[in-house]
């Protein structure tokens, strides 16, 4: 178990202004004891990855309800790889079909959450991911 607070960037990439979900999740992560950086609206993938680097986050959680996820999420992933952020999780949620979730998972995006997800499920997923990462780092170094 890590004693340090988990740092999460919650972001809204693209032109989509539907921020209810992002804010509800941001508040739930904060209430679960995480450090949350909320980017606000209309962020570019470049801006998001740059902020994630500056803020040294463990997790990037993006909310996309506009249907542009097949463009925006791979782009963020690509920029993360370029910046060698191999120990950072890219997750998120929105109006994303199961087929698209599958395709994005194959590219290396973490779990994506649709409408109706309990916030506790997201908290648990992030905590487990960070703990597993800690375990991996522990065994290899």
């Amino acid at each position: 178990m890590t004693e340090q607070k988990i740092r999460v960037l919650v972001g809204k990439p693209g032109l989509d202004g539907h921020d209810r979900g992002a804010k509800v999740v941001a508040a739930a992560l904060r209430d679960a004891g995480m450090e949350v950086v909320y980017t606000g609206l209309h962020q570019t993938p470049e801006g998001i990855v740059e902020t994630a680097l500056q803020e040294d986050v463990d997790v990037i959680a993006l909310s996309i309800l506009s249907g542009a996820h097949m463009t925006l999420l791979p782009r963020v992933l690509e920029l993360m790889q370029e910046a060698e952020m191999n120990d950072v999780l890219l997750t998120g949620g929105g109006i994303i079909s199961k087929d698209d979730m599958q395709a994005l998972a194959e590219m290396g995006v973490g779990q994506l959450f649709g409408p109706g997800t309990a916030t506790g499920e997201i908290v648990e997923y992030i905590e487990n991911w960070v703990n597993d990462r800690g375990a991996k780092v522990g065994t290899t170094s």
Binding site: V10, A28, S66, P115
Partner: protein, 572 residues
């Protein structure tokens, strides 16, 4: 409340309850006696609250309406304060307009969908634009990448607009366009297309959303700071009053406020407060209130809680009429009418067991109709996944037709009027909205409230509370936190937007820029900039700009250059 009963004893010593004499006293005594019995019953262990987390009583009776005047507060339809409806005869004269919001890919594809809907009995059009269009970016702008034609139709110029309405006579349909930041450009585009069809602006019927205040509060699709946006809205109201008297230049919208997480009362109060702000802006600009107020219209959400929704529409009509008359001095009866469009609640739809959404939508649509809506959009069951398929849209439209023709609810005006519950809830929502109006006024008005983050905070906390109730299973959502099906498989088809539309649309706009009459375009743009700097009414110069095939992105860019941009305080 203490019951007014006189306790006494019979000759044989058995106690008797002798009922008081007046009808009110007898009713109060009955209610009090019922309350005693009710207290002794066991109750299910859940929250008995409305969808808006509002405590509701187990029963409503005449006792709850002690302060309600059935003549002045309820009255009859078509008469002040219009609680029971804005028209004398309502659905017996004309059913509500069945208006399904549609738009995807390019103007070509969307035009086909419009013909499909009109052929299936839809009676009005409603245009859904893609995000780049809503945000004033052309399809080939870097910010538009991946978003072109995805959540609505991509419109870059008059050429696309011509395609969108091909074969649809604009003097015979009414069209609603859901666009806010660039609304003035779309009014101009519509007028220009009509002109090409030989239809003059005075024959155009329809609505532009234009409501920028709720963008800052909820949907977040603004282009400039609030002040220039408000100025442009006044320009549109003035131009329509003179040239397009059947057009609604603004649809003051609670829909998005509710979708963003507000309660029903917040939706009611914040939306009406926005409406008052537009009225005040119009008056401040020197317009006679009776010149523009008759063309103001509203747009409400219909969520799951049936009675709460019906009460909301009734309260909205009464509040609007009272404020327009008493506060703004409107004299024309038509200035007092809160006419509205309703859309069922997208945020209520579940990804789990999506077919259940058909049922939710039917209940919500019924509330809209029982609340006296003038037009209605019913959501499709698959909208938590993607834009709806043709089949899903058809079921949604059929839902309205079943309500209209089979259920019998359209036979009687305001059929819930006089329900103790609905009347008590209508009174209560009016009172709670008034409390919000005072609070907003205390902050310095709606714009000050936006700048200070008041609305954003109110919404974020209501949305979080709702989610917490669901997470804790104090609020049951069928298929989500109860009646869950493990390993559920999706059995409905999902619409996909082919990425080739984006490429085609980018090519089209680039080609248009290369081929248009450049001198005409340049002249129109210079004139537009000058009009902005001189604070003239922008409608004519924008009309000239769109006629010269200036693109939406080019016009917005010029405006952004003059008016600046805006960033909201980040609150969660």
């Amino acid at each position: 409340m203490t019951p007014t009963v006189r306790k006494d004893r019979r000759d044989d010593g058995r106690p008797i309850v002798q009922e008081a004499s007046t009808r009110e006293e007898r009713m109060a005594a009955r209610v009090a006696a019922w309350r005693d019995r009710w207290d002794r019953q066991s109750k299910r262990d859940i929250d008995f609250t409305s969808t808006s987390s509002m405590e509701v009583a187990p029963i409503y009776t005449p006792v709850d309406l002690a302060d309600n005047d059935p003549v002045d507060d309820i009255g009859v339809p078509g008469e002040y304060p219009y609680t029971r409806g804005v028209y004398d005869s309502m659905y017996r004269t004309r059913l509500w307009t069945m208006r399904q919001f549609a738009g995807f890919a390019t103007a070509e594809e969307t035009n086909e969908r419009y013909h499909f809907l009109l052929d299936h009995g839809q009676t009005g059009l409603s245009v859904a634009f893609d995000l780049p269009t809503l945000m004033g970016y052309d399809s080939d702008h870097p910010m538009s990448e991946g978003e072109v034609g995805v959540c609505g139709v991509a419109i870059d110029s008059l050429a696309d607009m011509e395609t969108l309405f091909r074969g649809i006579p604009l003097d015979q349909v009414s069209t609603s366009m859901t666009i806010n930041g660039p609304a003035i450009i779309f009014l101009a585009l519509y007028v220009a297309v009509a002109e090409e069809q030989g239809v003059s602006p005075d024959k155009l019927r329809g609505t532009l959303q234009t409501d920028i205040l709720k963008e800052y509060i909820a949907q977040k699709e603004w282009l400039f700071p609030p002040e220039p946006h408000l100025k442009i809205i006044v320009d549109m109201m003035a131009w329509c009053a003179d040239n397009a008297p059947k057009w609604h230049p603004i649809s003051i919208s609670g829909y998005h406020i509710r979708e963003a997480g507000s309660t029903a009362v917040q939706e009611l109060a914040f939306t009406l407060a926005d409406g008052f702000t537009y009225v005040e802006e119009g008056i401040r600009a020197g317009l006679d209130v009776d010149r523009f107020a008759p063309r103001l219209s509203f747009f409400w959400n219909a969520h799951n809680d049936f009675f709460e929704e019906v009460a909301k529409y009734r309260a909205a009509r009464r509040i609007w009429a009272r404020h327009m008359k008493e506060r703004y001095g409107a004299k024309e009866p038509r200035s007092l009418l809160m006419r509205f469009h309703t859309q069922t609640a997208g945020c209520s739809l579940t990804e789990q067991q999506p077919e259940n959404n058909i049922v939710r939508t039917a209940i919500q649509a019924l509330a809209g109709v029982m609340g006296g809506t003038q037009s209605l959009h019913t959501n499709s069951m698959d909208e938590t996944y993607a834009l709806p398929t043709e089949k899903a849209v058809k079921i949604a439209l059929r839902t309205q037709q079943v309500i209209a023709y089979e259920s019998g609810v359209a036979n009687v005006i305001d059929p819930l009027g006089g329900s103790y519950y609905v009347e008590a809830l209508t009174d209560r929502m009016e009172a709670e909205a008034e409390a919000y109006f005072r609070q907003i006024e205390g902050l310095g008005g709606v714009v000050a409230g936006i700048e200070e983050g008041f609305f954003q905070r109110e919404l974020a906390s209501a949305a979080s509370r709702y989610q917490e109730e669901i997470d804790a299973r104090r609020r049951v959502i069928v298929g989500v936190n109860e009646f869950i099906e493990q390993d559920e498989r999706l059995e409905i088809p999902i619409l996909r937007i082919d990425p080739r539309y984006e490429r085609e649309q980018c090519d089209r706009v680039r080609e248009l820029r290369a081929k248009r009459d450049d001198a005409k375009y340049q002249t129109a743009m210079v004139r537009l900039r000058q009009a902005i700097q001189e604070e003239q009414n922008l409608m004519q110069p924008v009309l000239d700009a769109v006629r010269s095939y200036a693109t939406v992105g080019e016009i917005v860019e010029l405006m952004r250059d003059e008016y600046g941009t805006w960033r909201e305080p980040s609150i969660f």
